[in-house]
Subunit: 342 residues, 4 copies
């Protein structure tokens, strides 16, 4: 059994790691930390875990964490970068679910995240944990930067188009919609049910932290800079991201075949039959990204529809997929359940 | 008191007409028809109307309807065109909330609606009832084609940009999201709460009937044909449309001022302060369209956010606004309530 | 025009007072206070008010408030009792939407609300503002204690049964369900959409502050103490309370006729036809209580179903109804809209 | 591997059987029937099953079904009774998720279900499949009547109280609330999201088919007839039942200990710590029933709160639990996932 630790386990990504790891046959969660809830059994806060975990939250302790084979950081941005160097020294491997190691351009990171990076030297080493892009590098990585939820959906959706050079690299649009769990479990007026239920809005149109991350990914695929407009929206529901992506074709292509071929060996990317419209509920609770590609009215605009569960493929599930790859386990272990529908 | 009739009053636009007309000081609803519910008091089906309307549904009867000053058609597509000629002959004026008279290009209409138009001669006479575009023509119209819900939001949102010639007329994108009441009150698996609750999806990406309507409106504004991609999505909520519109700037402009100036005299279009993100709930139950205009990262993509209540400004409210204009009443009569928030 | 003030206008009852008063033909809101938001226009926080109110929040000031004909307190419990004595001295009348003056038994109040009452002498003078119970006393009251949301629904539902002496006074059950807006607009984990959406639970079963209030009301009706079990539940929706009430019949009676007769002159209580099941949406946004009474299987258990909008008849609407009565205005002024359905 | 068939697989209980059986290590679904969808792959209708099942719907065929070790009927009431006799003859065992074999009193069944029973002789043989009540009989049963969703929650909640003789057998109240998936996937106006979203109501107060079923269960526990009022309500959410149960204590007892002891060996009944309020989301997607018992204000009314997922412990999960018991498999196989929260 592999021993894993979780730092910062009281948020939605923490409980989701526990939910998924409960069904993982080769992993044992040996430590889960929370300063605020130290001493309290995890099932006290999350009753769905009753009968599955006897473990209690503990104060973060480097020695205990360092004894793990792998540690997940499910902490606010800026926390992992302070502890990761010491954990790596102890031979422990790390998957950071926050943003600390996602952007290779450190001044850009510091501008968007409003803080000084405390271990820039590790950023270059960190591998961006999108297996569909970087599987081989993940395999040997000591430190994996787990992608953001929007960037996962948008990057997977654009990937075949950009990689194949079939679309213009300017004027790309990612119109994305997320359930409220993406905003986390912190007390805030903005995500009260009275505020976000039965309503819909865009937010962060002038600028959102996931924009440079998506741009970095697409630029890597294009091998040159790209121009993208990213508009996130808040859905009156809990789980799920739907990315509606727009690009301008510069060449003829069999788009359906392009997508099917590119993802044919990917265990967690499912290209739907031509003409489909994926629903977020079709991936509720699971690590899949379901994608459909359209060319409306045979015009030169491609429309890609991609759905993920923001807490699974957009966070905890992808983190476990990365862990499986890093530790040489079967990539789909613990991630084989069927989505909850209805 | 003005006498009005409603044909086909059992659907959501029918009850919404009644809800709004209950508060209109100069209108009396003298007849409301429904073949299926003839004889049944309206408040039996819609308990919110108890105490406000004593009227019962009746079989549609041309003489009774013709005695009205104005008749609303809240019927399925293809119904109004069969009855309107006779009503007009009787001197009655008509607002059709369905699509029968919306498209000036009759072959195009027949292609999208899958039926032969039974009175093409009236299409040319019909005025497209978007007051912000056609107020003067509406004033004297005998027959007004009330706009579709998506076309209302998308047209109002694009209007200043296209009218001013500031954007490229190709590559326009209207990424629109609607609450489920837009799908009506007919029994169908597709809009069961078990199917659409807590989920989100696009639909009709290959082609949707509102696409040619939006194109017609924008082409009228541009005075030339335009190229638009329209993607509708279904929100897990009841009321509200959010249009997220993308266009490419071809010239410098003070967009905020452009929008504020264009709509400064419009009673039902509210341009929000720069940097805003309108919420659909801010127009729940009311006839307003709230709009914000953004230019993210000072790039050349303009993003317009426009919200309406699909049943009010997107249907019954706009129909009443048109009626007020046609009958020489104060344009805002019956439409002055405050949106229900939270 | 009557001049009214609102103390503590940033919460849901504050904005609801404004929404309803915007349509009141004889009232002008001259002052609305908020320490936290002083100087900010109300429409900044509540965009639905744009175009309806130019007023800004101000620091609470006794002189300004005292110049009003009537002041509403939409403040947390314990605030009104500190300011009300001075306002009354200035000749201003007061409706308190919080709980400060609801319980006549001061030690009981202090026990449930966990604080010392600062003006117990006014409690005896205060009139409990349920017009269906106390209309005459409200007419001349200087100070009205606006009822709690659950107590309004439960008391109206039980009223004819208890008043008529037809049921046992022990073993009464009020199983009540409320939308989340009842919990207010304060930032809290417990009412995040991620926590309460798509889920349902009871809360406060060991004891809830509205229990002694309901008991006080029913005891007044019975003219003796009663025994009641009250279980509140949280619904995954925003507005609406549904009270399901159980009592044991001790005598034969025509319950339908009992209810219809008792409420026949009440403008805001609507007894549905026999066999009905009221929906909360049938009162969304309006001041009505809709009630149905059942005697399942002709047994000796009576089941009463009563619905209100917790923010209207359960708070702001009832406060305005009380204001109308106190000021000699038509009781239904400003409260005549039709519920928003769907 | 055990071979199972599913008759009538297109509804919500059908897809839920597939979802759960996908994770069952000792079961293979060899046939799933649907007249309407014969020939269509199951994953076409339910995209969450893509990659998990290659099977297509087929016309119901007795030979194919009879070759299964066990057949689930996920059909409308009245279907199973026509086919079960022949399947039993072929040596196949059956779990009926509909109501055909739930009531031992055949005239009562015929009255509530409005049809003549076609194989009354099998009703006596059928075992009511609530393992917590009838585990031993289920083990050897050829035919199991899987309980209704409300009866499962209400019976488990009342069980220790009635079994122990601690409460009055009259005046029992079961105030139950269900998500809309309980109404199935048939097209109907009554369960459109536009009709049931953001609203709440009771239904069936004069009489509901689950009432005689609950009474039968409780009478079995009490060994005498009981008197119960059952009021079902419809929640604006998809999954979950919450039963709030009321009974009058006739004796002193340590209720917490009573419940914990009674269910200590039950793998799917979880008694929460004293003072708890179970949430339906804590059992979303899983086979558990979580229960809390309260005695508010130390009065003589006991309040029991019990939650289940109506599609799992209230239908497909319990059916699989019954199958496991019937076939001598580990009772919890395929039912060990963690509930999806948030």
């Amino acid at each position: 059994m592999v021993k894993v630790g979780i730092v910062g386990g009281t948020g939605y990504t923490g409980v989701e790691l526990l939910r998924l790891l409960a069904g993982h046959p080769q992993v044992e969660v040996t430590v889960i930390t929370s300063r605020a809830e130290a001493g309290r059994p995890v099932a006290d806060i999350y009753p769905n875990l009753r009968g599955h975990f006897d473990i209690a939250f503990s104060e973060p302790d480097l020695a205990t964490l360092g004894a793990c084979d792998l540690v997940f950081f499910a902490t606010p941005n800026g926390t992992a970068m302070k502890l990761v160097p010491q954990l790596l020294e102890q031979g422990c491997r790390v998957v950071d679910l926050a943003a600390d190691f996602r952007l290779q351009d450190i001044p850009l990171w510091e501008q968007w995240y409003g803080m000084t990076h405390s271990c820039p030297e590790l950023v270059a080493e960190a591998v961006y944990g999108l297996p569909e892009l970087n599987r081989e590098a993940i395999r040997s990585a000591r430190l994996v930067a787990n992608p953001g939820c929007y960037p996962t959906a948008a990057t997977l959706g654009f990937l075949p188009l950009i990689e194949s050079g079939l679309v213009r690299l300017s004027g790309l649009v990612a119109d994305c919609k997320s359930g409220v769990s993406g905003a986390g479990r912190g007390a805030s007026v903005g995500t009260l049910m009275g505020e976000v239920g039965e309503s819909f809005k865009a937010y962060g149109v002038p600028g959102h932290r996931h924009m440079p991350e998506i741009r970095q990914n697409l630029a890597q695929l294009a091998d040159q800079s790209i121009d993208l407009t990213f508009v996130p929206h808040l859905l009156p529901m809990i789980r799920g991201i739907h990315a509606t992506l727009y690009a301008t074709l510069t060449d003829e292509a069999d788009l359906q075949s392009l997508y099917e071929t590119r993802f044919s060996h990917e265990p967690f990317v499912d290209v739907l039959p031509a003409g489909s419209h994926p629903e977020t509920r079709s991936v509720r609770g699971v690590n899949h990204c379901r994608i459909a590609v359209h060319r409306p009215q045979d015009g030169d605009t491609v429309v890609v529809l991609a759905v993920i569960d923001n807490l699974v493929k957009g966070a905890a599930g992808q983190a476990i997929q990365n862990m499986n790859i890093m530790l040489g386990l079967e990539e789909t272990l613990g991630l084989q359940a069927v989505a909850l529908l209805p």
